[in-house]
Structure formats: structure tokens, C-alpha cells
Symmetry: C2
Subunit: 147 residues, 2 copies
DNA sequence: TCAATTTACATGCATTTGCATTGACTATCA
DNA sequence: TGATAGTCAATGCAAATGCATGTAAATTGA
């Protein structure tokens, strides 16, 4: 119930502004190059990594930090576009297994130069390696879920 | 056109995850208390700060890092709810001046304990003052707009 | 073993967003 | 001063999102 110090509030604001600014750069880069949004890349990356074994939607959900219905519909769109396949799941008839298609793999590969360049522009060019280590270390502390 | 180092990519991911996690905490806190989303608070805060002089929508846009149509409709909703007023603008007949209403001021005040507590929980409890200073310093570097 | 609960995923409906465009006014400058 | 360009804001339409709920299968446990 306690209120934050000024420093805490300023830190919160810094975090939001830095994130929003960087994200804007990245999403704009992808769009200008005619690519789908960042979320598609995230899905394709996970599926590409796991390979033919595939992933269940709920696993994707955990990896992507999206709500259940968000993942469900994101998958629908990507499937409709032909970049992933839903396959029946032997172990659990409620769900399915998602695998990336060849076209999906190609899309991901072609997105990376653009996405990577945007990350480099938004983050790489602005920080020294030391600052990056520092930032990662401190940001990691924000993820701890203890009360 | 150059690609990011692993460290740059990891930093980018840290930033996104930390932000998303913290934002989730904050928005959830507000919703659970029956309050409107964070964006409403931001608008009301700016209008409360400026006082009777009010703000033009395009000034709000600059402060809030939202697209023009986003601000336009956000304002509509908040006005409809009675928390701000659009007044005619003497200097420029295209626009209007936005001022907070009494109810708006009261809403902002009643939101702060909840919003503040969420910020404290998401940021204040997780970092030392030194870490906050560090974080602010490094995040600020991400805002520079030089190529 | 079978009723109750939980888990996995989908979806209808309302709200919100994104994009492109429009309407209205202001500024520029020949 | 009058055409041209630029700025401020709203909006129609399509797409995405949030929320609540639905369906079906798996798990639990009496």
C-alpha cells in the first residue's frame, strides 16, 4: 500500500519512455520494409528454434507473455498466412502442435536483417557494452515475482 | 544496416520483458480497483499540472508519445466520461484547449494511491536507490535521436 | 469408475487501434 | 492578396484486442 519515492516514479517513467521509443523504432522498421509485426517474428523464432518437434500454444503463451486468446488468434493469422501449421497432438487431444513451415522459416530469415538493424539502431548504437551489461543486470531484477 | 551483437539483442529483450512485466502489474492494479487505464491518468496528470490554462491536443500528443488519432479519441472518451472539457481556442480556430474538470481532478487524486502502490510494487520494491539512478542514466541514453 | 474440477484452446461481442483521408483553418511568399 | 503548402484535429473502415464464456478433453479423488 505504500507510495513510491520520486526516484521510483522517475525510474518507472524512464523505463516506459525508453521502451516505447525503442519499440517504435523497431516496429516502424519492420513495417517500412513491408513485414508483419514483431509478434509474428517472435512466434516464428520460437518455432524455428524448436524445430520439427513443434510447440503447443500454451508453451508459446508462456514464452511470449501474451494472454491466451491473444496467442490463439495470433496463431490463426500466422497459419492463415501460411507460415506455420497446426498438427494434431497425440498426447493431448485438446491441443495441437505448432510447427513452422518452409515459407515461415524463409520469412523469419528475411526479417532478421531488418529487425536486427532496428535493434542495433535503437539499442546497439546508443550504449556501450558495459552499459548493456549494467542495464541487463538491473532490468533482470524487475522480473522477480516475490512480493 | 549492421546487425546487433548478442549483447545488444539480450539488452533489447531485457528491456521489453521488464517493461511488459511492470506495465502488466500497474494496469492490473488499476483495473482491479475499478479505475480507467493508465493513459487516462497520464492525460489527467498533464491537464492537472497545467491548470486552467489548459493544453492543446497536439501538446498532449507530444507529452504522451501517442499518434494523433490516438490522442483525438482518447480525449473524446475522457470528455464523454466528464473528466475534461474541450474549450474553443482563441489563438487558433482549428483546435481547442483542454482543461481538467473538478471530477477529473478528483479521479486523478483517487487513482494515485493505487497507481503509486503498483509502481512501488513493480519498481520500488525491486531496486535499490543506486540501481534506480543507474537505470535512469542508462535508459536516458536510449532516447537520444541522433542517427 | 464416474462425477467434479481443471486445463487447453476457441470465439462472440464490444471496445480500441491503425491507417488513410478529410475538413477546416493558418502560414508562406510571389 | 491569393494560390500553395502546412498544421490541427476528426473520422470511416478494417484489423486487433479485451473480456467473458463455451467446448472438449484430461485429471483428480471419493
Amino acid at each position: 500500500m505504500s507510495l513510491p519515492s520520486d526516484s521510483t516514479v522517475e525510474t518507472w517513467i524512464s523505463l516506459v519512455r525508453a521502451h516505447d521509443t525503442a519499440l517504435l523504432t523497431v516496429e516502424r522498421g519492420l513495417k517500412e520494409a513491408g513485414f508483419p509485426p514483431l509478434a509474428w517474428y517472435d512466434v516464428l523464432l520460437e518455432l524455428d528454434r524448436i524445430g520439427p518437434a513443434g510447440l503447443r500454444p500454451f508453451e508459446l503463451q508462456a514464452a511470449l507473455l501474451l494472454p491466451q486468446y491473444g496467442v490463439s488468434r495470433l496463431i490463426d493469422r500466422i497459419e492463415k498466412a501460411g507460415y506455420l501449421q497446426k498438427q494434431i497432438c497425440m498426447e493431448d487431444a485438446r491441443g495441437h502442435v505448432l510447427t513452422i513451415t518452409d515459407t515461415g522459416r524463409k520469412l523469419r530469415q528475411s526479417m532478421w536483417p531488418v529487425y536486427g538493424a532496428a535493434i542495433e539502431q535503437a539499442v546497439g548504437e546508443k550504449l556501450t557494452p558495459g552499459e548493456m551489461r549494467l542495464l541487463q543486470r538491473v532490468l533482470a531484477k524487475l522480473l522477480s515475482s516475490d512480493t
